[in-house]
């Protein structure tokens, strides 16, 4: 399955790796014992998660009044967090689906974790529309279920209903796609497992993957089909989320630019989150040789691109707010009104974190620096949270009638739930890092010969890369082969 790659391209796998080395590297976090750092991170996340759950129970038990909302500001942190998490979830699909269709091989090292992140982020996102309801126990009413309440049916005009469909579709397609990719890797773990219980679990998870050629053929086909299905979702989900705002009549929300701008923003924030997570993960799970500077640089390039789109959108919004000449548009979240009003700090935070700081990535040195990328990615995460907060809180704080102008201040419950979702997210991610193959090893192995550092060097030295079938032969004969390794 190997292909030709120009020797001038940087390698995607560092070091002198054999197929078995890859297997070993990826199975190690699962088979080995967790270190102190993992436990520390896990317990902190767990504590945050439990705190968040406590806040959720308190909210559901007492009423939404425990949040900082008011008659004039009906949404604030709840929907901010929702959109933020959905946005974060965007990178996964883009990496696994769109980049697959574009045959971008560098995605192979990161797609598994990016997709895991997507799914975990969508879990968090999905929490908010439910708990932000005044009566969450009736949340199932938003589903078009035939019912005995009479002729009651959902309102297909409502963007919130579109959200329900968009998010649930997105979650299910992402989950299936992710799992499909996981099948050969689970099978690999299963085959290596020595404990019977572990073996049983992984054989359940691997859906009886046998590694036959037919399996591989179907695997490839399903991957391609799912990639085709998932690609429109990259555009649709955040388009629909943006319509929660764009179809409303609030100045600052009612804006036709929202769908593309939200999609770009989502990818922007999604890649930033991948950057953040992988920055940690490559260190913790010793994946430095698979997640390389090149990967980081590629992701940074996507960030500059989408960040640029976002910046242009901001400028457009600012211009339009002025250009309409409408007194109602003066206080939109990107306007002189916002820059001089009580939320100026949020306005400038947005500009700083989302526009100013990402510009540093134009410098190759910064773009290729792990530390700098990590810090910038955190800044973007903060900035993108502010973007949603600004859109929601600033716009709602300056309604049509000046008598309804108000302000929002979060309560400890608002903060607690947000922190709780971060904790929940990391709990899931840390468990994932210990039990799932964090890198799609089956896929990575396909590029070892073409993009591995060792093989690249060999071809530079003029040693010809042998055809794939022969490579397999060579590997079977190699001393490094292991009986447990079926690949």
């Amino acid at each position: 399955m190997s292909h030709y790659e120009a020797p001038i391209r940087e390698p995607l796998i560092l070091g002198d790796k054999s197929y078995h080395d890859i297997t070993e590297d990826i199975a190690k976090p699962i088979e080995g014992k967790a270190n102190k750092n993992w436990y520390m991170a896990f317990y902190i996340s767990l504590a945050a998660m439990l705190w968040g759950f406590g806040c959720i129970f308190y909210t559901v038990g007492t009423g939404i009044g425990v949040w900082g909302l008011s008659k004039n500001i009906g949404w604030a942190w709840d929907i901010t967090n929702f959109v933020w998490w959905v946005g974060i979830g965007h990178a996964g699909t883009l990496i696994s689906a769109v980049l697959l269709l574009f045959r971008q091989k560098w995605r192979m090292a990161i797609n598994r974790s990016a997709e895991a992140m997507t799914i975990f982020a969508v879990f968090q996102a999905g929490l908010f529309p439910i708990i932000h309801m005044g009566r969450p126990w009736n949340a199932f009413w938003v589903l078009p279920i035939p019912n005995q309440f009479g002729s009651l049916w959902v309102n297909f005009n409502s963007p919130l209903l579109w959200d329900v469909f968009a998010i649930s579709t997105y979650l299910s397609v992402s989950l299936v796609f992710w799992w499909t990719g996981l099948l050969p890797d689970f099978a690999m773990i299963r085959d290596r497992a020595v404990k019977p219980f572990q073996k049983k679990i992984y054989s359940l998870l691997s859906f009886g993957w046998s590694g036959r050629a037919k399996d591989w053929q179907r695997f490839e086909e399903v991957s391609l089909v799912l990639a085709g299905l998932a690609t429109p979702l990259v555009l649709s989900v955040h388009t629909i989320v943006s319509m929660d705002f764009a179809t409303s009549i609030n100045p600052g929300w009612h804006s036709t630019i929202f769908p593309p701008y939200f999609v770009a923003g989502a990818i922007f924030s999604g890649f930033a989150m991948v950057q953040t997570l992988l920055g940690i993960m490559r260190k913790v799970t010793n994946m430095e040789e698979y997640i390389t500077r090149l990967h980081v640089e590629y992701m940074n390039i996507v960030i500059i691109l989408t960040g640029g789109i976002v910046a242009v959108a901001y400028a457009t919004e600012f211009f339009i707010a002025w250009y309409t000449g409408s007194p109602y548009e003066y206080y939109t979240y990107l306007s002189v009104g916002a820059a001089t009003g009580p939320y100026a700090w949020a306005f400038y935070s947005l500009l700083l974190f989302n526009i100013a700081i990402p510009q540093l990535l134009w410098f190759k040195k910064i773009r290729r620096s792990f530390i700098a990328s990590f810090i910038i990615s955190i800044a973007i995460n903060i900035g993108m949270w502010f973007e949603r907060f600004d859109i929601i809180a600033i716009v709602l704080s300056k309604g049509h009638l000046p008598s309804t102008w108000w302000r929002f201040e979060p309560t400890f419950v608002d903060v607690g739930i947000f922190i709780g979702t971060i904790g929940f997210f990391f709990v899931l991610f840390l468990l994932y890092a210990r039990t799932f193959p964090v890198i799609a090893q089956a896929e990575v192995k396909t590029i070892l010969k073409s993009s591995g550092e060792f093989y690249k060097k060999r071809s530079e030295q003029g040693i010809p890369t042998k055809p794939a079938i022969v490579v397999l032969d060579v590997e079977k004969r190699s001393d490094k082969s292991d009986k447990n390794d079926t690949e």
Binding site: T62, G63, I64, G65, G68, L69, S70, K71, N72, I73, G74, W75, P129, H132, M133, G134, R135, P136, N138, A139, W141, V142, L152, W153, V154, N155, N157, S158, P159, L160, L161, V164, D244, T247, S248, I249, N250, W322, P327, Y328, Y330, V336, G337, T340, P342, L396, G399, H400, L401, P402, S403, T404, W405, W406, R407, F408, E409
Partner: protein
């Protein structure tokens, strides 16, 4: 002793039949088939209960026991065993009666459901009006916390018979010793009660009757006495006025009980002429806010201005002082002279000489507006008598004090003197509806019935004789004052019989008692005309001038708030939650201070991050008396003056959450609402206000609230694109500028079938009094949320009245002319002027035909009705709040918590008595659902059903909502636009009609009428 008597149960037993013996030995006639079940030992031995079966049994029995132990909530509802003839369950009964609590007087209609009064509306046949306080009085009936429930002696329960016996004995003893006894009441304005008191005095000649009003207008009454020989308040027929000049008279508030109905009647632009109203005042009052021209003048300047006006009109030469408003006074003198008998001058300064001067000016003008014949009896209090009483008590001269519904220990400035005197009085009897400080210190406490439980009569003005009838059985063991006094006088007649006899013989003039009782009033004729005495008031003016010249320091103007008045109903949560029409602060009183003074003294009102407003505290000292109050910076407050409202700060017997504000009565020295020589000092601490509106100006968005002058109204085309005063919004469509309402995204429904409701709101007629707000509270079971929640912007009012101040920079064009930058322009638009014009805008659900809320609800909980309403289905609502966010009018209210049956919200919906006021036609909403104005759909449906049952079409103007029927001035008009005769049909097409935010094309069913001000005259 042994007995051989034999007891027998049947003849057979007696005759000793053997059959009975057999039976008695055999308890069970038939053998129980135990053998069938247990006889077969073998099967029994072989049968086994498996562990699985055992668990099943245990599980089943446990589950059954658990279920049996769960007790469902028991709701006690007791059906009528014998249905009363006049009550049909589900159908409201209305009674015409009167309210008279000593401060608020009104001819009212009371709605009762299943024997419970649930709403008060004006008796329009009697020209009755209801203020917010009158509307809310129905809730005070159910004040479980404060109402007295049975007679007590020194805190111990006592029976009525014993109490009467003991008090009677004590009174007789005092009578024999000829020791004075004083009956202290508020203004009763009740002819029959006055007669009963006279008879009581005949029986006990040592008794004197002293009338004490907490808020005094005795200066005006004394001035009338001096000038017209009649101690009463004049009436003002402002509907006939062409020029009204007021010096601090809050006649749309509590001045002489208010004249808003007459005032607005004289301000109808469609008649082509409006009265011209100029208000000289220091505090921003409701009246000043509605004036065509409001001239800021601190109290001393008002007095000098009044004297200057007097000089200018009468040609006298009373020594006075120049004031900053002399130019305006000169103008007004000219205007008044021109208006002649159509002009009127009023003053709210509670100083006899000032009132005399005003009367003299009116006399000089020969004013037809002031009515000294049909005078008002609603303020009869006499400070001189009260002060004499305190002196006598302290001298030990008073042997007995009977108080009736007054609370001098709270409302007297010299309450401690009164308390000291009270200790020297041997017999103190409190006849009171509610518990208070004075009741607490009395030996005997005799609970009196609430006016909704009482018989009675009233005489608010000379012509209108009102009757009061009970609308509910007394809730507690209470007795009316009249019955008590009749009993003590030795008269065995019940007060009802007495009243009937009294009214029939002396008032009704042969008319039917039943008709009068049904109508609630009877119109009397006045035959005698009152003539002014020839005495000159020049001396009075000179005296006034000399006293005022001594004024120094800050000048304090004490006033009453629209919500609380004199504080009688301070424990009424509806009124506490009711936002002040001017400051829009609820649950508080505060020192109002001008912007300039606040800057100088360092007072601020910062807006906190949660949207709420904070304030600093000030120590206010007057004549050695001090109170510490929070400061609210008030645009339009005269520099050098401060304002403070009375009626707050009551604590005795109040729950903690109801103990709000500061008692300002200690500063109400000599019952004078103006106090000179006030010092103000900033003290530490931060006060948390609860305001329902933070932004003060309209920020240049003049299409929300349109104002035009009378001249423009008469001469300019309203739709004129450039100069019109009621321009529609224009939008670009196909690159052409077109009127916004000509294009539509949606298919229009056919709205000509059935009823289609519209509500018209005339901004010219709306004075902002807020009666509609409380009416809506009562009709729709709107919850009270308390200060903490109002502060963070969670008041639940379905109907609110937005108040906007004008700014120095009013429009973007102004800003361009001034050459302001964009940021400066917006700052200018957002900052209120130092002396702003004020506009009010009632705002409730606009019932948009293209409602933005309807499209965004995921579960279709808010939908459009066939009759034009935007309907809210509470039990379908999941509470996403998207509808509220997408409502450009922000009128939707979310139930953040459970407001009923929740100890965190311990107001009327958390106790069994308070819940009796709930309207059974409207559901009490649970937490997590959205609610809003329903256009009183329960009322419109009831009207439709009534017409249907009677087999007729709905009559013209028969449809009403709570707000429209409560509106005193007729600003709110509700009706069916598919009925061509309905008033609202014409109003919907009026040239003043417009929709708020029409550029959004929401097509509301609520129509506003442009506010017309008479600013061009004078």
């Amino acid at each position: 002793m042994a007995s051989d008597k034999k007891y027998w149960k049947s003849v057979e037993e007696l005759t000793n039949s053997s059959f009975v013996e057999t039976l008695s030995k055999n308890e069970f006639v038939q053998e129980i088939a135990t053998d069938t079940f247990l006889g077969d030992k073998e099967t029994l031995a072989n049968s086994s209960t498996s562990r699985r079966d055992f668990l099943k049994y245990v599980g089943f029995t446990t589950a059954a026991a658990t279920l049996a132990a769960c007790e469902g909530p028991v709701k006690k509802s007791i059906p009528y065993v014998v249905k009363p003839n006049d009550i049909i369950a589900g159908v409201a009964d209305w009674y015409a009666t009167s309210m008279a609590d000593g401060y608020d007087f009104a001819n009212i209609l009371v709605k009762t459901r299943e024997g419970r009064p649930i709403q008060i509306m004006p008796n329009k046949d009697a020209n009755g009006t209801t203020s917010a306080r009158v509307q809310a009085a129905v809730l005070s009936l159910y004040d479980e916390k404060l109402r007295l429930k049975n007679p007590t002696k020194a805190g111990e329960k006592i029976s009525w018979i014993d109490a009467d016996k003991e008090i009677g004995a004590a009174l007789n003893k005092l009578k024999e010793a000829n020791t004075p006894v004083v009956l202290l009441t508020g203004t009763l304005a009740s002819p029959s009660t006055e007669r009963i008191i006279q008879e009581f005095i005949v029986a006990y000649p040592n008794v004197t009757h002293v009338i004490y009003d907490a808020i005094s207008e005795s200066a005006a009454a004394d001035a009338m006495l001096a000038m017209y020989g009649k101690r009463a308040l004049p009436k003002y027929h402002l509907d006939k006025a062409s020029v009204i000049v007021s010096f601090g008279a809050d006649f749309l508030g509590d001045f002489h009980g208010g004249f808003e109905k007459q005032y607005v009647a004289g301000r109808k632009p469609e008649t082509g002429s409006m009265s011209y109203h100029v208000q000289f005042e220091s505090n921003m009052s409701l009246t000043g806010a509605n004036a065509d021209k409001r001239i800021v003048a601190k109290p001393s300047d008002q007095i000098f201005a009044l004297i200057n006006l007097f000089n200018a009109i009468t040609g006298s030469n009373v020594p006075s002082q120049a004031t900053p408003v002399d130019a305006q006074v000169k103008q007004m003198a000219a205007a008044l002279k021109k208006a002649g008998s159509k002009g009127v001058v009023m003053t709210g300064i509670n100083e006899k000489n000032a009132q005399l001067v005003a009367l003299a000016i009116n006399n000089a003008l020969n004013s037809e507006i002031i009515d000294v014949n049909n005078t008002l009896n609603i303020r009869q209090g006499n400070e001189a008598d009260v002060n004499q009483l305190i002196k006598d008590m302290n001298a030990g001269k008073v042997g007995g004090l009977l108080t009736y519904n007054v609370n001098p220990l709270y409302s007297l400035p010299n309450a401690t003197e009164f308390a000291n005197g009270l200790k020297k009085v041997s017999l103190t009897v409190a006849l009171s509806t509610e518990n208070n400080e004075t009741v607490n210190t009395s030996n005997y406490v005799l609970p009196t019935s609430h006016f909704l439980e009482s018989w009675g009569d009233t005489q608010f003005d000379e012509m209108t004789y009102g009757l009061m009838q009970p609308t509910i059985q007394p809730l507690f063991s209470t007795r009316q004052l009249q019955d008590t006094l009749l009993g003590w006088s030795g008269n065995t007649t019940k007060y009802y019989e007495y009243l009937k006899g009294f009214a029939s013989t002396t008032i009704l003039n042969g008319s039917s008692w039943n008709t009068a009782l049904h109508n609630g009033f009877f119109t009397r004729e006045i035959t005698t005309a009152t003539i002014a005495s020839e005495n000159s008031v020049t001396d009075a003016a000179i005296q006034l001038s000399n006293i005022t010249k001594k004024a120094s320091g800050f000048e304090l103007q004490l006033y009453t708030k629209t919500g609380l008045g004199d504080g009688k109903q301070a424990n009424n949560p509806w009124l506490q939650e009711f936002p002040d029409p001017i400051t829009r602060a609820s649950w508080d009183n505060y020192l109002t201070m001008s912007i300039a003074d606040a800057k100088q003294l360092g007072f601020t009102n910062p807006v906190k991050d949660n949207g709420a407003i904070d304030g600093d505290y000030a120590k206010v000292s007057v004549n050695g008396k001090e109170v510490i109050v929070p400061v609210m910076i008030q645009p339009g407050q005269a520099k050098g003056s401060v304002g403070l409202s009375l009626g707050f700060g009551r604590t005795f017997g109040f729950k903690e959450e109801m103990q709000v504000g500061v008692n300002a009565y200690p500063l109400y020295v000599n019952a004078n609402n103006i106090q000179f020589g006030v010092t103000i000092e900033k003290v530490s601490g931060t006060h948390q206000f609860a305001c329902t509106q933070v932004q003060k100006t309209i920020a240049g968005r003049h299409d929300i609230l349109k104002v035009a002058s009378l001249k423009e109204y008469k001469s300019v085309d309203p739709k004129d694109h450039h100069h019109g005063w009621n321009k529609p919004s224009y939008v670009s469509y196909d690159h052409k500028e077109v009127e916004a309402n000509t294009i539509d995204l949606w298919d229009e429904h056919n709205r000509e079938l059935g009823h289609h409701f519209n509500l018209s709101i005339d901004l010219t007629s709306c004075t902002g009094c807020g009666a509609c707000v409380v009416a809506c509270h009562a009709e729709n079971n709107v919850p009270v949320v308390g200060k903490r929640e109002v502060r963070v912007g969670r008041d639940m009012h379905w109907l609110r009245i937005d108040r906007y101040y004008s700014s120095e920079v009013e429009t973007r064009e102004d800003a361009k002319e001034l050459g302001l930058s964009r940021a400066e322009m917006y700052e200018g638009l957002e900052t209120e002027a130092e002396n702003p014009e004020v506009t009010f805008q009632p705002m409730m659900c606009q019932h948009c035909n293209h409602a933005p809320c309807e499209t965004v609800c995921p579960v279709a909980a808010t939908t459009h009705g066939r009759q034009g309403q935007n309907q809210m289905t509470y039990n379908r609502c999941v509470g996403t709040r998207y509808c509220a966010n997408n409502c450009p009018y922000r009128v939707r209210r979310f139930n953040w918590f459970n407001y009923a049956n929740n100890n965190e919200f311990d107001f009327n919906m958390n106790n069994e008595y308070g819940k009796m006021v709930l309207n059974p036609d409207v559901v009490v909403r649970s937490r997590g659902v959205m609610e809003k104005c329903s256009m009183c759909i329960q009322m419109t449906q009831a009207t439709i059903l009534k017409a249907k049952k009677e087999g007729r079409a709905v009559n013209t103007d028969e449809f009403e909502t709570a707000c429209s029927s409560a509106c005193t001035t007729g600003a709110l008009v509700f009706g069916d636009v598919n009925n061509r005769q309905d008033k609202v049909t014409a109003l919907a097409k009026d040239k003043r009609a417009y929709n708020v935010l029409d550029y959004l094309q929401t097509k509301p069913n609520v129509i506003y009428q442009v506010k017309i001000k008479n600013t061009n005259e004078a």
